[in-house]
């Protein structure tokens, strides 16, 4: 599977990203600057973390629509612990991640126990978790100031700790997916659940794990969001799930399961963030930005599927 994906796909995504950067650089005088780099890298940790978790779920053949709401739960719990209870930041962060993990475990347990499609279960949690975030914060934004400044510090080259964390977790996730037995089991379940069962893989266990991971990473995404805004907003991360799906899909992850790459998802996140920053630089209006983003998402996936078809045809003609 890894060999047949090959480098050409990453190359394709990298070229797309480079083309966007180049294009915006030519169209706008100030796009190529350290400031832009900082803006982009600052904005993406939340999206990147949520998209990584979602990619795990997608590869195993499910979907997690609740990542945005779960990130809000983490932020809300953190805000409540710090602002209302006066807990130390580390304890509050632990509680926030714990709450997010619980959300993921609930998703996994419901999908497994009731044999319900994950689309529906996580759609339920998309609403339910959002409601919980409002309840926890009493529907108010809690201003926390510099409590999570650590994540926003820029130790190297203007890159924030949150961004570096996202990069490190991307690398870890990539390792897990491509170099561990767990990764193989995710691919097996996502590709052919019955065949996976017959070689001794437990689809139930695999689902419990991926939804747990997805919840935890969504929680971390929520903390990054709190760090960036200096506030816990119960409305945070709404629509995050759709951006995360877009990033994964641009990266070539299949919504049917069995196929996906963490590195490609990360490049997908970079493409979305670059597009957003670039269009903002050009002073494009908000409605127009959304139209362009939509076109790029569909266009990228279409171009990739055409590329894959051509590559497959070439392999058939030349290979055998």
């Amino acid at each position: 599977m890894l060999r047949s994906r090959g480098l050409s796909e990453f190359l394709f995504l990298a070229l797309l990203l480079a083309a966007l950067v180049g294009l915006f650089g030519l169209l706008s005088d100030h796009f190529w600057s350290l400031g832009t780099l900082q803006t982009v890298t600052n904005r993406i940790p939340s999206l990147a973390l949520a998209a990584l978790g979602l990619t795990f779920v997608l590869v195993a053949g499910g979907i997690d629509l609740s990542v945005g709401s779960v990130s809000a739960v983490a932020g809300a719990v953190f805000g409540w612990c710090v602002a209302d209870r006066g807990m130390p930041v580390a304890v509050a962060a632990g509680a926030a991640l714990g709450a997010a993990l619980v959300c993921g475990v609930i998703n996994g347990a419901l999908v497994n126990a009731l044999r319900m499609p994950s689309f529906i279960v996580t759609l339920g949690l998309l609403e339910g978790a959002r409601g919980f975030a409002y309840l926890v914060t009493n529907s108010q934004t809690k201003y926390l100031g510099e409590r999570l400044a650590l994540l926003q510090a820029t130790p190297v080259g203007g890159l924030s700790v949150a961004f570096l964390l996202a990069v490190a977790l991307t690398a870890t996730a990539h390792f897990v997916l491509t170099r561990t037995v767990l990764g193989r089991h995710l691919v097996a379940v996502g590709t052919n659940e019955e065949a996976a069962r017959l070689i001794g893989v437990s689809p139930t266990r695999v689902r419990a794990v991926v939804f747990g991971i997805s919840g935890l990473l969504a929680g971390l995404a929520g903390l990054c969001h709190v760090a960036r805004l200096g506030a816990a907003d119960p409305n945070a991360g709404s629509g995050l799930e759709l951006s995360a799906i877009a990033a994964a899909v641009i990266g070539g992850t299949s919504l049917m399961g069995g196929r996906g790459s963490m590195l490609a998802t990360f490049i997908g996140v970079l493409i979305i963030a670059t597009l957003e920053a670039g269009l903002a630089h050009l002073g494009v209006s908000e409605p127009m930005k959304r139209v362009v983003t939509g076109v790029v998402i569909v266009g990228a996936v279409a171009a990739e599927s055409i590329r894959a078809r051509i590559a497959a045809r070439r392999a058939r003609q030349g290979g055998l």
Binding site: T180, R184, T191, N192, L198
Partner: protein, 509 residues
């Protein structure tokens, strides 16, 4: 018999290298019920599918009422008046009975709006014809039992005027009362001149219902006989061919060891109704029987893919019970299962040859981390695939691109990477070319010689005869006979296979 309705001369059909029909002849008269019987692979289903326009023929002539008959598809066959009621149910559960009956031609008021009144009256007439006058056409199909769904299916077949009606095992899911209804219907159709081709394993039904019976073997007509005057034993002898024709002994010369797998009174759903058998170390045991005898279901229950509803599976030499309903427990006990449907249940089709060969056990560098050793993975997969002589271009090639035989070698061979004590294989050589077939036999013999136990389900009599040390025959979910190569002969084998299908009224739920 009166005039001829359908004349088949020299019909041939092959699927690749596998020739199914070898010059079949058959005559069907106007207004007769004509039964068609034969063992597995005799060509009954292929023949009826050609008649119904579901398969093209390779050669031969068919004439229908003295005119040439060569339907392009099912629709053309129906237009010519040849209707087949398919074995698998195609009733749509979300629609009601009437909609199901006339889905191909719903009466409308124009602009695509369904004329419900006309639909209901048409449906009622069609239901009357199959003796289901009590059934409201507005009933949702999902609420019907399997038997009634089957009758609705037949009613749908009869909703159109038909000259030839083909039924393939129509009573498999019916209760005695429903069977009576169906037989009454078939007799009244016969009286109106419809010719009925009736395929069944149930020899008792045939003598009760049919006028004539044709016996097929190896894609040829063996005999057409008056159904009532022909005994069950005569039919079985005809289906089997010359007894003892192919008795040979190429069995493993190895020693038979202690019991490795013991199955006691195992039950699973309606298909497996209390099976007991044992497989010893060094032994290849064959599982024979007609299609639908419960072989697949038995293997799945032993491996825990489906949960057994009664009985137990033990793993020797200590005869330790194996937890039911868990393939993981079965694997831990040293069982491996090779499923019948390679594409659906065996292969990870889009993934690479290497992936598919390695997935039974991944080579690891750090066990606690599950860190794969990718160098060893490639090396071990390459070594395994060359040992099995699998033809592939590179390890990254998608396994879907391999031939059926090579795919099967991968699905079986992946288990060589584990210590497997009991091999459970379901139709391991289906859709596999001759050389791969030989390789698979050699592999299984070699495994048995090294002390494993092997249980092989097969529909192929010759395969069972050539491969196995012992053959257990299932019929209607029960053990109906057991043979050694010395006692095996086709007639006795078929008699056992048909055994459970007698006494129709009692053996059915």
């Amino acid at each position: 018999m009166t005039a001829s309705r359908l004349q088949v001369r020299g019909l041939t059909k092959a699927f690749g290298a596998n020739t199914v029909l070898r010059g079949l002849d058959l005559d069907l008269a106007v207004g007769e019920i004509h039964a068609l019987i034969g063992g597995n692979g005799a060509g009954k289903s292929t023949f009826s599918k050609i008649l119904a326009g579901l398969l093209p023929r390779d050669g031969g002539e068919i004439s229908l009422d003295a005119a040439g008959y060569a339907p392009r598809d099912r629709r053309a066959a129906q237009a010519a008046g040849v209707v087949m009621v398919l074995q698998e149910l195609s009733v749509l559960p979300t629609l009601n009975v009437g909609e199901n009956l006339f889905l191909h031609a719903l009466p409308t008021r124009g602009a695509g709006i369904i004329d419900r009144t006309r639909l209901a009256s048409q449906a009622r007439a069609a239901l009357d014809r199959v003796g289901l006058s009590g059934l409201d056409p507005e009933t949702p199909a999902a609420t019907l039992g399997v038997g009634h769904q089957q009758l609705v299916e037949i009613a749908a077949g009869l909703a159109q005027e038909c000259r030839v009606l083909i039924l393939d095992e129509p009573t498999a899911a019916l209760t005695r009362a429903e069977i009576e209804t169906l037989f009454g219907l078939l007799r009244s159709l016969r009286a109106r001149g419809t010719s009925i081709l009736y395929i069944s394993h149930r020899l008792d039904e045939i003598s009760e219902l049919a006028d004539r019976v044709s016996v097929l073997r190896d894609g040829q007509l063996i005999a057409t006989l008056p159904a009532r005057e022909t005994s069950r034993d005569q039919l079985i002898t005809l289906m089997a061919g010359e007894a003892g024709e192919k008795a040979k002994a190429t069995q493993s010369a190895g020693k038979i060891g202690p019991v490795l797998l013991q199955v006691r009174d195992l039950q699973a759903g309606p298909a497996v109704r209390g099976v007991s058998l044992a497989v010893h170390a060094g032994e290849i045991v064959g599982l024979g029987g007609l299609v639908g005898a419960g072989r697949t279901e038995l293997l799945r229950a032993i491996f825990g893919v489906d949960r057994a509803t009664g009985g137990e599976v033990r793993f020797g030499p200590g005869l330790v019970p194996v937890a039911p309903g868990s393939p993981r427990a079965a694997l831990a006990a040293g069982f491996a299962f090779v499923p019948e449907d390679r594409k659906q249940h065996g292969l990870f089709s889009p993934l690479s040859v290497q992936w598919n060969a390695s997935c039974a056990r991944w080579p690891q560098r750090r066990r606690w981390l599950g860190w794969l050793d990718r160098v060893a993975e490639a090396a071990e997969a390459g070594e395994l695939l060359s040992r099995l002589q699998v033809r592939f271009s590179n390890l990254g090639q998608a396994v879907a691109e391999l031939s059926g035989g090579n795919q099967q070698k991968v699905v079986i061979g992946r288990w060589l990477r584990r210590e497997i004590r009991v091999w459970l294989l379901d139709e391991p050589t289906r859709g596999v070319d001759v050389s791969a077939r030989r390789a698979i036999y050699a592999l299984l013999r070699e495994r048995a010689a090294s002390g494993a136990g092997v249980l092989v389900a097969s529909s192929d009599y010759d395969e069972l005869a050539a491969l196995c040390d012992r053959i257990v025959v299932l019929s209607q979910g029960r053990v109906a006979g057991e043979f050694t190569p010395a006692t095996l002969n086709p007639a006795a084998f078929l008699a056992a296979a048909f055994h459970g299908f007698s006494g129709t009224a009692t053996s059915r739920s």
